[in-house]
């Protein structure tokens, strides 16, 4: 587990290092490129801000009104069969549909149950490992005017299920055990 965590911590510095060395090796103006990209970053965040406001409020309402918990407990017999913690289910359902919606619900889940708790870590993993499947399929097929998509949705959603499943089971347990021993939470 030490190694796993060490690699995780290395990921960002190593990526930056490789890119910088590569840039210098090809004699590019590294800092100018950086500034240009960082400036673009501002507009990305500004662009998603209104979406986030709308969706965070909606998800917050769902959570505090108690209706989300009601739906979860209603569905829990089925969810228990899949051995998934039911707190995660709203995220698992929303993730393929909406990117900012799932950001809202992941944040909600993590702040309610704790970022470094088991559920928080599982939510982080699901959030990072999955894509907005349905959106991706929609833009790629509609861009070229495809109507018959065959089994693309089926295959992609199987992938989502596998991901949610693998996030929830062994992996999550490993990470959690490591966290508990390291930080004595």
């Amino acid at each position: 587990m030490e190694i796993l965590n060490y690699i995780s911590s290395c990921a960002i510095p190593v990526t930056i290092l490789v890119i910088l060395i590569f840039g210098l090796y090809e004699k590019k103006n590294v800092f100018d490129s950086f500034l240009e990209g960082a400036k673009e970053g501002i507009s990305i965040v500004v662009k998603i801000f209104p979406t986030l406001i709308g969706l965070f409020v909606a998800i917050g309402c769902l959570r505090t009104s108690g209706i989300l918990d009601a739906i979860i407990s209603f569905c829990s017999p089925v969810i228990n069969l899949l051995k998934l913690p039911s707190e995660i289910m709203p995220l698992a359902f929303l993730r393929p549909i909406s990117g900012s919606g799932s950001m809202a619900i992941a944040t909600e889940i993590m702040s309610k149950y704790g970022v470094d708790s088991q559920i928080g870590l599982i939510a982080s993993t699901i959030m990072g490992a999955t894509e907005t499947t349905i959106y991706t399929i929609a833009i790629y097929t509609s861009a070229v005017g495809i109507k018959k998509t065959r089994f693309v949705l089926f295959a992609s959603l199987i992938g989502d299920v596998v991901r949610n499943f693998s996030c929830n089971t062994y992996l999550a347990k490993f990470v959690v055990r490591f966290f508990l021993t390291k930080y004595n939470i």
Partner: protein
């Protein structure tokens, strides 16, 4: 999609809250949601600007083209029908590399270009070809080396180790991408 979901979420929860007497909580939750968006956006602003800057350096070098080289054998397995076509091959692998590096903004236009080139080779223009099918499925299951959004969320909520889930995310998306590729391969074969 959200034009339907969003109002439904709010209307349903407001009605439910009124009937269960939780109107007070709804009020507090609206304002605390706004607060957490602002907090998250500040962290996101930092993370995304830094990452976009770093990745812009990568785009300006030939790094992506160099990485594309490693994808060659993989593409031969994944896209046997269009493997011969150098242009499509390049577009597909550029899209994959951009996805892996988390360059969402660069990946989608590259992917659309690849889709258009594949459509030109497609015999039935209203149906997905095998290659397009595989391409979309891989895009929905893309592995991201640095999941910046998750890191931003985690650090905005005060995690002790925001990057802790990077390796689990890799493993989990690797599992699913393998399963998805095998399933797609199998279904393509059966479909014939």
């Amino acid at each position: 999609m959200l034009n339907v979901l969003w109002p439904v979420f709010i209307i349903v929860s407001c009605i439910y809250a009124i009937f269960t007497g939780k109107v007070e909580q709804i009020n507090t939750s609206i304002f605390s949601s706004l607060e957490s968006v602002v907090q998250l956006s500040i962290t996101l602003l930092g993370t995304i600007c830094l990452w976009n800057g770093i990745m812009n350096i990568a785009i300006n070098t030939s790094l992506i083209e160099k990485l594309v080289f490693f994808f060659k054998p993989l593409l031969k397995y994944l896209f046997p029908e269009i493997y011969q076509d150098e242009k499509i091959r390049k577009e597909i692998s550029m899209n994959m590399v951009a996805n892996m590096l988390g360059l969402g903004n660069a990946a989608t236009p590259l992917g659309l270009k690849a889709m258009k080139s594949m459509q030109e080779k497609n015999k039935k223009t209203d149906t997905l070809s095998n290659a397009m099918l595989m391409f979309i499925v891989i895009n929905t299951a893309s592995i991201q080396m640095i999941p910046t959004t998750v890191i931003a969320i985690r650090s905005s909520l005060g995690s002790q180790n925001p990057t802790a889930t990077i390796v689990p995310i890799w493993i989990s998306s690797a599992c699913s991408i393998i399963v998805v590729i095998l399933i797609t391969k199998f279904l393509i074969k059966v479909g014939k």
